[in-house]
Symmetry: C2
Subunit: 468 residues, 2 copies
């Protein structure tokens, strides 16, 4: 739990100053600490020295944050009151959050049509200087006919939350058709009914999309006790710099952590040290936005991660736990690019990619929706991700001879037991224990507790496996 404590005690205390001042990805310090092991590039900017960490630069060269300065918030609220209103749904707010902090840099707001089309066709955007950044999932805002009509000739609209409080202003707007079928087909590679994000956010959405430049009036908060873990890319960058990280390796997850994951993360750090890095830091980065109904909810996952970290399997000194605010598409090879790209903007230069990343079962056919290797291959070839080092997941399995998770050795395959996510969840649901060494007992207990809060099916056992 130590690394989480670090964040509990240090980050939240300093967060008012983060939120209250214009952020940049430059870390401003008066003098250079002697312990800086990376080579800082120093720029003289008149009054003070800016140190740019040797971490990877955000896409487009500069982190694009879209938060209104604190001194101007009241003005913006008054402006918003005079504009046509678009009420945001829960997922829309999550995207506003993502955009506001620069995870999608250099996007300046919800996509206009040219960005939407480039995303659908090329999974990337060409910038004015001719350079290319990755952008694989459409970040768009849908409106319906009546909303479009109510906007009329306005060039700006107010985005409001479910209580009609202003969240943001969208300027220089462009309204264009929402080609739902095409968007779904090109993003998911299927149009089969039952895709979770599609059913949640597309099927019943309006037939128009509205793009424009976003000014977000206040930092997005969820007041669920987890906001302290929601570090922005700038905050993460600052934290990595504070820790003198010379490499950051990101691990995206939306499932409970087991000892196979832990082994992989520990092993990755060893490999980076062998490569000559002095202080590689792990960004353990659970996804915090929309997930499908049968995934373990964020709050329970965070409890589970907490227990796993308490167990000490990951070194708190070199691990940062934070929540990635994006909603989940379950779009496999298309989405894993987004997961990787967003982490570049937080300073990660290494990205661990697993088997079938962001995948799920086919909603209709009895098979996985994506080839398990495509995600790894696609993200390795993706335009705009050339700067990111992709680290393919080694296969870990339960080694019966050692009684712990270990990297699979095909020469003695019979010694290994594969425990899939589905199997794990079924065991937890049925309050059965996995083999010793699969997950720390505290973490397992959280999982069992979570399923205990669910209404049991029939005899209290859960006979049906949920697709991983």
């Amino acid at each position: 739990m130590a690394s989480m404590i670090t964040l509990f005690t240090k980050i939240p205390l300093s967060s008012p100053s983060f939120n209250g001042s214009p952020r940049t990805h430059f870390v401003s310090i008066p003098t250079l600490p002697a312990s800086l092991s990376f080579k800082p590039r120093i720029r003289q900017t008149g009054v003070r020295v800016l140190v740019r960490a040797a971490l990877i630069e955000p896409d487009g060269g500069k982190l694009v944050e879209l938060l209104v300065e604190e001194s101007k918030r009241d003005i913006k609220k008054r402006e918003a009151a005079l504009l046509p209103r678009i009420r945001l749904k829960k997922i829309d707010v999550q995207w506003v959050h993502v955009l506001s902090e620069g995870w999608a840099s250099p996007l300046r707001g919800f996509m206009k049509e040219s960005e939407f089309l480039q995303t659908l066709h090329f999974n990337s955007l060409r910038l004015e200087d001719g350079s290319v950044v990755n952008m694989s999932v459409p970040i768009v805002l849908a409106i319906d006919d009546s909303q479009k009509q109510s906007i009329g000739n306005f060039t700006r609209v107010a985005l409001v939350d479910s209580n009609d409080n202003p969240v943001a202003i969208l300027s220089d707007i462009e309204i264009y058709k929402h080609p739902k079928e095409e968007r779904i087909a090109r993003t998911w590679g299927t149009t089969a009914p039952g895709l979770p994000y599609v059913e949640e956010a597309i099927t019943n959405a309006g037939n128009w999309l509205i793009g424009g430049d976003l000014e977000v009036i206040e930092p997005i908060k969820y007041h669920d006790g987890l906001d302290r873990f929601r570090l922005s890319p700038a905050q993460l960058h600052e934290e990595f710099t504070r820790r003198n990280a010379d490499a950051v390796f990101a691990f995206q997850l939306r499932n409970p952590v087991h000892n196979g994951h832990a082994l992989l993360m520990t092993d990755t750090r060893c490999r980076l040290l062998e490569m000559g890095y002095k202080n590689p830091v792990l960004l353990l980065h659970p996804l915090g936005g929309y997930t499908k109904a049968d995934d373990v909810p964020l709050s329970w996952r965070m409890k589970q991660h907490e227990k796993v970290l308490e167990d000490g399997v990951l070194d708190p000194e070199t691990t940062v736990v934070s929540i990635f605010p994006s909603p989940m598409h379950y779009a496999g090879p298309t989405e894993v690019q987004w997961h990787a790209k967003a982490r570049i903007n937080a300073g990660a230069n290494f990205y661990i990619v697993g088997r079938d990343p962001a995948g799920m079962g086919h909603p209709v056919e009895k098979r996985d929706l994506y080839d398990a290797d495509h995600g790894k291959k696609v993200v390795s070839m993706a335009p705009g991700l050339e700067r990111l080092n992709i680290l393919p997941f080694k296969v870990a399995a339960y080694d019966k001879t050692q009684g712990k998770m270990a990297f699979f050795d095909p020469s003695r395959a019979q010694d290994f037991l594969f425990i899939s996510g589905t199997k794990m969840r079924t065991l937890a649901k049925n309050k059965e224990n996995p083999p010793d060494g699969f997950m720390c007992p505290g973490g397992w207990k959280v999982l069992v507790e979570y399923y205990d809060t669910m209404i049991p099916a029939g005899n209290g056992r859960v006979p049906e496996a949920v697709p991983a």
Copy 2:
């Protein structure tokens, strides 16, 4: 007809030497003609001077032709006889043709999985030197389980025609899964039943794809009286150079030419002259591969083009008519990139793109499958096409006041009559005449004749419009 005569009389006579010697996109001449208006880059290569025309370079820098040298054909045939055989379908042969001549340069054969995935996700391929070329439609060869089994551990296979004659050898093969649904969804942006190419070439195709390096044993010929029009990129390049072209503008078509098209092409040349080009040449480039059943067949379209050219509306001195051997996908914004990219490889540096290029009606819903403007937008932003100048189609319509096709003037919209492809075909089917000046009478007569050869429906009239 003069420009077609040019090709009739000049190109076929010289074609044996084209086919008999290794081709390059360099034009070999002993001395520089004084009339060369472009700036030739001259390289000394020992014995003779190579002149590279100032036309656009092929993708990847060098045209990749995959034809076996004439002297080695017998050896290759004998080699092929010892290899497992894959029998090609008609569309497969068309793709072999496309690949053999370098339309898809720098592809060296049917796609391997990494090329297939890049095509599906990025519509482009990254080359070893880091540069990017456009590639938007998968050029793949499907095999079924039994074919896969028969290949076993062979690393090469023979591709044979319907009579089991060897067409090509595929070496360094890679066999991978054929994710049909995903391929269709990502290529067409829909998986609705009734997509012509899908039904023709994918639905019943095998569940595996086989990629590799292609050696094509003999030039692909169709013996339909039209082979003389099937100029390869190298032959076209040579023809453009012979004509001292300093700009080549390509016009892709799969429909009869009407006077609106002619107006556009003539106007484009004027615009290019105004831009300072001395001799812009038009590549009038009807698609010759697979088309859907209700399109006018190639042989009739060529007859129609012949009559239209006889009429003299296009200047034979500055027009080259040739057949583009690719099959048609009807994949709108995805496919128009392929149409543009292939023409780069033939030396075209300007590409005319129309309304809803490569589009069709939605196979199930009562609407166009693609937004009519998306093709133009997508091709303008596409990776790897930056070197190509995209010329958007101006809208031409029948001007009732002038009695001819003219560019639409919205200030006097009431004077214009829009005659869609559907309307045109319905008129021809019913042996009715379009307004004078819509199409030259000879060209119209060919269309009427074509529909006359079709079995008439009911009373001999065709009441139902065919989707454009």
